[in-house]
């Protein structure tokens, strides 16, 4: 509807976004203001600094600066034996550490040519703990983002759900977050006796929590207004920027390593991979929500089919022998000694091994020089690529849109900065 332009000195009540922009450009002279967000900022979780140039509420340009959590993973890995690197991988994506453990173990096992000899039970256990980790990753992401948008209740529901899952992982590995549970050749210890019944009960409750969060947010006017149509990524952009995981899939890029290049025993499970269509913040939210449900499907199937058997490969050159043998036979003592002091001897070679991490394709590019330490152990961090696209997404958005956008990208500082 056409309206006469107002006289310069009068004031108007502003309704709707389009009118405000018109009003601002006509009436008020503005100039760009530099605004610094972070690295110490409640919404910049994972420590990220954004140097913004804002004009009013609109962002003119953004420079996302990462690296505040850089701890030298690669440098440390070059000075540690292959097994000593597992605690470092825990601290990469620290909300889904099992997935990082598994990704690294698979890479080294491929270099050792033992990836076909991992016991079946160990593979199932890796899938189970991996999917639990994936659920905790998405729970953390959605909880934190919901809280930042004002939905505190959702935060508590989802974090409580995360706690139930972490209790189980603590039973299995001894720690809530820094598991170091996976080993080259299998896993460090077997699941606890009543793990499966407990997990089924926990999943029932987690389903309830996710359902509650879904009901509270998905049809919520405020939530939808803040998420719909914001920070749209197209499928072509996802490919050009190397965006994988929920961010890429929400843009319509149907790529999931578990489906396209199955590893461990993922090809035996029946699950779907949710793919979005619009590539906006809400799609990223919805994809993660649905992925959690699909992960729970995988978990149920894995528990049903979990075979009995050993959990570590029986090769004294790769896996530590049982303690009883180490203390009583010289052969196992020597094997234990050499494995700890010199490390597993991985033949010289290079490999790029990739798995589906919480944020996308988690790759490990490992170069071995034939000794017990890697020559190079590179992590291809999925959220490094995902965060890079923010430099392109943010200009044109409002300052308030940064919060849901950054939250839905799910930058985990440990993985992005390593």
């Amino acid at each position: 509807m056409d309206e006469p332009s107002p006289p310069p000195t009068s004031r108007r009540v502003v309704l709707g976004l389009g009118e405000a922009a018109h009003f601002v450009e006509d009436e008020m002279p503005t100039e760009a203001m530099p605004l610094n967000m972070g690295p110490s900022h409640p919404a910049m979780h994972g420590t990220v600094r954004m140097v913004l140039e804002v004009e009013g509420e609109k962002i003119r340009s953004a420079d996302v600066q990462v690296g505040y959590l850089h701890r030298g993973f690669e440098k440390e890995a070059e000075h540690a034996t292959w097994t000593q690197i597992f605690p470092y991988t825990d601290r990469l994506n620290y909300v889904s550490p099992m997935l990082c453990n598994v990704g690294y173990a698979l890479a080294v096992e491929q270099l050792l040519d033992i990836d076909g000899k991992i016991p079946e039970r160990a593979q199932f256990i890796r899938v189970i703990v991996g999917e639990i980790s994936r659920i905790t990753d998405h729970l953390t992401c959605l909880a934190a983002s919901a809280m930042e948008l004002g939905a505190f209740t959702v935060f508590f529901y989802l974090i409580k759900a995360r706690e139930w899952l972490w209790e189980l992982l603590e039973e299995v590995s001894g720690a809530r977050l820094t598991h170091s549970y996976v080993r080259i050749g299998g896993v460090a210890a077997d699941l606890s006796e009543d793990f499966c019944p407990k997990l089924r009960e926990v999943l029932r409750r987690v389903r309830g929590a996710i359902g509650d969060a879904d009901k509270l947010l998905t049809s919520n006017r405020i939530f939808r207004d803040r998420m719909d149509g914001i920070a749209v990524i197209t499928r072509d952009e996802a490919i050009a920027w190397g965006l994988t995981g929920p961010v890429g899939r929400s843009a319509g890029l149907a790529y999931d390593v578990r489906k396209d290049h199955p590893y461990l025993v993922y090809d035996r499970f029946d699950f779907e991979v949710p793919v979005g269509s619009k590539g906006d913040n809400f799609d990223r939210f919805a994809v993660r929500l649905e992925e959690m449900r699909q992960s729970m499907r995988i978990l149920e199937q894995a528990m049903d089919r979990l075979p009995a058997g050993p959990i570590l490969i029986d090769d004294a050159r790769v896996a530590l022998p049982p303690k009883r043998e180490v203390y009583n036979t010289i052969e196992s003592m020597i094997a234990h000694f050499k494995l700890i002091m010199d490390g597993i001897v991985v033949p010289p070679g290079e490999i790029y091994s990739f798995t589906e991490g919480g944020n996308g394709e988690l790759g490990f590019y490992i170069v071995s020089d034939g000794t017990g330490r890697p020559w190079k152990c590179r992590v291809r961090p999925p959220c490094f690529a995902n965060t890079a696209v923010l430099n392109k997404l943010l200009p044109g958005l409002f300052v308030a849109d940064i919060i849901p956008t950054f939250g839905m990208i799910n930058m985990i500082g440990g993985e992005c900065d390593r």
Binding site: D315, A316, R317, P321, E325, Y327, N328, T329, I330, E331, S332, M333, I334, A335, F337, K338, M341, D342, G343, V345, D369, G370, T371, G372, R373
Partner: protein, 527 residues
């Protein structure tokens, strides 16, 4: 090594041998094991050693040869023409596992407390070739555990795998047959011959060659784990032989010296006395410059020394003496000679050093200084002896004396008006000096020595200089500055390059490539 066994200019017959499907040509007379090593085929062994005879007792090197009914020991069998050797068939690999199983059958589970852990050949071969679980249920034959067999060595009979390398070292290298095997079967032990102790001057070589922790050095036992050690190649300063060694240090302290193979100088061995020369590096060091008995800064001490030397040169140049040491590196000697010739223009030059000692025809020289040859070469024909120095000091012919090194200089100093000393240790010489400048030692500097054969050999730093001590050439540069001479040397390599130009016998010599200390761990463990 195999090369030594071939007469240098005798025509050698060539034989064609196939190893694992690849055909090669070798000189006749070589053993199959040596041939495999030549072409990079790995065959494990315990009892063979390149510097000793091959008894073929451990049976670890068994390989299959076409036409022979049983696997044969490759360390003992010479290559024959048209031989077909297989080292990696399932049968050979299985035989290796069996031999290792026998060797491990009664081996005590001592790895956590055994010195050799980390450089143990038994550990290495088990991990590479066996990696199977034990089949015996744990009952092992017990033998004596801590046997004091000699001045420097402790024997653990249970760990001994009866390879007899130590017996052969005593027989063939030291030529004193002090060790022997006794009893038979699984009761066989290593022991000393009746009435003998393991006391020959090369006894610690047995500790080097022992593949396991049966023979351990009393000096090194329990002091440091092998994988914490950083190895630096260097040369022993104990005598003029200049055996090539590796300095093993950790946390900036030298822990032991071991020999490095050099077919011309020391083959694979070194004497016990030489092994202990590292202890002096950490005892009673002069840590800071001293001026009239009190600690001073380098600037003050150098300035004072330069002043004294300058005055002596101006007023009474004929009573100014400089004593060089046969313990110093060529670089230190050359830098000080530059000072001596110009600006000091001193013509009272003395060569001092450690007194002569015992010698034998195996490795030990009577000359207990590593660089007499170098000192004489660089010092020139006007060098006077240590006896003349003593006479000149007693007679009052010297009033000002600059001592570099200080080995063998005992005085009397009372007739001297000024004694300037560049030395590494505290002691009577240092106490008598007006100015004492701390000198870095052979294990702390880059430098070269000439050994008794005239070979130029390189020493490398394994630890940082003690306290504030500096390399000799650097002290010479500092003194030169005070005397108005510019010795523009920034590192030892430059001094070496300058020396190579001036000293005829050094022309064409190479400094060698830079080598960082290597940690005895992962791919670099010795066992």
């Amino acid at each position: 090594m195999a090369d030594e066994r071939q007469a240098p200019f005798a025509p050698t017959r060539k034989v064609t041998v196939t190893i694992d499907g690849h055909t090669h040509e070798f000189s006749a007379g070589m053993t199959i094991l040596e041939a495999c090593q030549r072409v990079g085929v790995k065959v494990p062994f315990f009892c063979w050693h390149p510097g000793l005879s091959a008894p073929a007792v451990c049976r670890q090197c068994l390989v299959e040869v076409k036409g022979f009914p049983k696997p044969i020991p490759s360390c003992y069998t010479p290559v024959l023409d048209k031989m077909e050797v297989v080292t990696n068939s399932p049968k050979v690999l299985d035989v290796r596992r069996q031999m290792l199983e026998f060797t491990l059958l009664n081996h005590p589970i001592d790895c956590p407390i055994c010195d050799k852990a980390g450089e143990c050949e038994l550990q290495k071969h088990y991990f590479e070739w066996d990696a199977r679980s034990a089949r015996n249920d744990g009952g092992k034959v017990r033998k004596a555990k801590v046997v004091d067999v000699g001045r420097h060595i402790v024997l653990d009979q249970e760990r001994c795998i009866l390879c007899s390398r130590c017996v052969r070292v005593c027989n063939e290298v030291a030529r004193q047959p002090e060790l022997t095997m006794a009893f038979r079967g699984d009761r066989q032990i290593l022991t000393t011959a009746p009435g003998q102790r393991l006391d020959n001057p090369y006894s610690l070589n047995t500790v080097d060659v022992c593949p396991v922790g049966a023979l351990t050095a009393k000096d090194f036992r329990f002091s440091m784990r092998a994988w914490e050690l950083w190895a630096t190649p260097s040369v022993c300063p104990g005598c003029a032989t200049g055996c090539n060694i590796e300095i093993h240090a950790a946390c900036n302290v030298i822990r032991r010296l071991v020999p490095r193979p050099n077919p011309v100088v020391n083959k694979h061995w070194m004497c016990d006395e030489g092994r202990f020369t590292y202890q002096r590096v950490h005892q009673d060091r002069l840590a800071a410059p001293r001026l009239a008995g009190a600690t001073a800064t380098w600037e003050a001490a150098l300035a004072q020394a330069a002043r004294v030397l300058g005055e002596a040169r101006a007023s009474s140049p004929s009573t100014l003496g400089v004593a060089l040491s046969a313990q110093a590196t060529n670089e230190d000697l050359f830098a000080f000679m530059r000072l001596v010739s110009e600006p000091l223009r001193a013509d009272r030059l003395y060569l001092t050093g450690e007194a002569e000692g015992w010698c034998d025809d195996i490795l030990v020289s009577a000359d207990k200084n590593p660089n007499t040859t170098g000192a004489k070469l660089i010092g020139g024909p006007t060098l006077r002896t240590a006896a003349e120095l003593k006479r000149d000091m007693e007679g009052g012919a010297l009033t000002t004396l600059l001592v570099v090194g200080g080995a063998g200089v005992t005085g009397p100093f009372d007739k001297l008006s000024s004694l300037l000393v560049v030395t590494s240790h505290q002691g009577p010489l240092c106490a008598a000096a007006q100015v004492a400048l701390p000198l870095a030692m052979w294990a702390e500097v880059d430098g070269t020595f000439f050994n008794r054969q005239g070979k130029l050999q390189r020493v490398r730093p394994a630890i940082t200089p003690a306290g504030l001590s500096r390399p000799g050439w650097q002290i010479a540069v500092g003194l030169g500055r005070g005397l108005g001479a510019t010795l523009a040397y920034a590192d030892a390599k430059q001094v070496f390059a300058a020396a190579c130009e001036k000293v005829t016998l050094m022309s064409g010599a190479e400094w060698g490539k830079p080598e960082m200390p290597v940690q005895l761990r992962f791919a670099n463990s010795r066992g």
